[in-house]
Amino acid sequence: MIRTQRLAAGVCALLAALAAGIAFPAPASADETTANAPKVDLVLDVSGSMRARDIDGQSRMAAAKQAFNEVLDATPEEVRLGIRTLGANYPGDDRKTGCKDTAQLYPVGPLDRTDAKTAVATLSPTGWTPIGPALLKAAGDLDGGEGSKRIVLITDGEDTCAPLDPCEVAREIAAKGIGLTIDTLGLVPSTKLSRQLSCIAEATGGTYTSVEHTAELTDRVNQLVDRAADPVVTPVATQGADACAKAPTLKSGLYTDREEFGQQRWYRVDVLPGQELRASVSVAADRAVNPDYGTLLRAVTAHGREIVRGEAAGNGRTDVISTGLRYPKAERDDDGDKPAAETVCLQVTNSFSAASSVKSTPGMPLELTIDVVDGPSNASDVASFGLGRGWWLLGALVLAGFVAGLLWGWLSRWRIAVWRTN
């Protein structure tokens, strides 16, 4: 059934596409592609420590430059690439000035490989490591547009500009912008650096890599830039309410929201009779949380009766906890004067918790997928069409047939005998 529907839909789509093609010969507009272009900002640490010669016998700076040259050559055409430095300009000892030292080396935009390479060649290791401020500025560089946004941070030392925790900065950035991911690469295998960089990465759903060779650095940055170029569905930002009555009404699609520890989020979906509501929710652990957690998604009627729920719990290291539910609304037989569509309230709660030192705002990222599709054809029997299967079935049928034959035979013999005697 699914297949025939798909075929029909495909034929319709084809016809419609043909018609549209005749009507509007050039539908693609340049503006649209620019607005949806993926953006990547490479943030490179140019602090004094980059002078250390411990990557394949050359300095960290030289390794980074070599990697950048190769990455710039391999960058896909559609990616808007920018480069930002931190600690490149102020060689002095004043912490306050040093911690503001971040500059845009190459603006985010269509890539001129020669220009970008020339700009990278001028860099020489200089100052402090203001990761937090650099991330904030990088997020500003990527502002605007609908495409995916990615910051790739390459550094050899942890942030030297406390109290601004780069990890919290990352979380704030993720809370502000939609679909911004920060990937981090550490050039030194140190536990402290690992902890900070993986914290930054986890806050935004990115990855952390510890790099020891130039080739690894090149491969990884290339991989990350390519990943940015992959087309991904951009979720729509929404804001759930604390009660169903005030909740936003959602249609089929992908939504994102934020939910704090112990907070409730309500959304509403209209479901017509004969339609099926499919909802799934995932709550991401973007900060250090306690190892036992869970999430609950309930579908509730407008009057507060629970229809169905999805629940998930887990323990240990995780990026996300997710659950989902289906609710097929039965076809209505009578045409009463009730409203046609039923409002289903979706309630999302989580049971994440964290140590008191962990900030609870902004809330954790929440992703909600809503699909309203045609309802299923319900089963009237356990087996497919009520058909049978197996040797027991055959035995029973044979026995029944045999007994029926015998009875019929005896019956007809008896009838003949009766007829003859009369």
Binding site: A13, T209, S377, L387, G401, G405
Partner: protein, 273 residues
């Protein structure tokens, strides 16, 4: 004598039936083709949204860092029992780590593994970890309140659940493969979904209906489909069993009837009647 003839006829029919049912048993070998196709993804996604799409029987590879969350997705249809196998190749020097695969269905509900080592610890210096998860049989339909596996997209998440900070970021490579065993008519249930459990299918089919030209370019949550399309759900070998059962019952009926008739004229009929 008649009885023996009837029985021999019966046994021949049963034998034929056994042959007919044979292919169903032969199907139980993994239905997938051998690996080595070029189209298998060489990168994994990092979330449900970006999961790399793998066909059944393809071996997908990915490289990344310890601590990454690797995501893939594959299609599974009704009457299949998928098995997910993953191999993680670790660096030479590392501490003790615990790796885990989790399988989620199209509604992002975690699906239980019937058997297989879903979580495995790798001691310091171990070069690889092998993980397996055998899912429950996918049914064409289930009640709303059940979380039975339904036809649609399945997500695989591979990650190190137990890892020390010192090991974070170290390079690893992973291989993952989903195969399935065809469970045949034994798993054929009544009822069917209007659309498979593929996330975003309402949006995708709406675009198809609108004849949106961009639909092929724009990203979708999951564009996954088995090689030969989703099964229509009406065919199962239950039709064969039931039909053969009907034929056998008819034959047995004839046999039973014949038995009561005896041979030739009834003995009690007077001669000359």
């Amino acid at each position: 004598m008649r009885i023996t003839r009837v029985f021999s006829a019966l046994s021949v029919t049963l034998l034929t039936l056994g042959l007919a049912a044979g292919p169903a048993a032969a199907d139980s070998s993994p239905s997938a083709s051998p690996s080595g196709d070029d189209s298998a993804p060489t990168q994994a996604g990092t979330s449900f949204r970006t999961a790399a799409e793998v066909e059944q029987g393809q071996t997908a590879t990915a490289s990344g860092s310890t601590g990454d969350y690797f995501y893939w997705s594959f299609p599974a249809d009704a009457e299949q029992r998928p098995t997910v196998k993953a191999t993680v190749k670790l660096q030479e020097t590392h501490g003790a780590q615990t790796w885990q695969i989790d399988v989620y269905d199209g509604l992002r509900r975690r699906q239980a593994c019937q058997y297989g080592a879903q979580t495995r610890a790798a001691g310091p210096g171990a070069s690889s970890v092998e993980l397996t998860c055998v899912l429950r049989t996918v049914r064409a339909w289930s009640e709303t309140w059940a979380n039975d596996p339904l036809p649609g997209t399945y997500y695989i998440r591979l990650t190190a659940v137990g890892v020390t900070t010192a090991d974070l970021g170290l390079p690893v490579s992973a291989e993952v493969r989903a195969d399935s065993k065809d469970m045949g008519g034994a798993a054929a249930v009544d009822g069917s979904l209007a659309e498979p459990l593929v996330p975003g299918i309402a949006v995708t089919s709406q675009k198809d209906d609108d004849g949106d030209k961009d639909s092929s370019d724009s990203a979708v949550l999951s564009a996954i489909e088995p090689e030969d399309g989703w099964s229509s759900g009406w065919w199962s070998d239950r039709w064969v069993w039931t039909a053969v059962g009907g034929v056998l019952a008819a034959l047995a009926g004839i046999g039973g009837y014949a038995l009561t008739r005896g041979s030739g004229r009834p003995s009690r009929v007077p001669p000359g009647a």
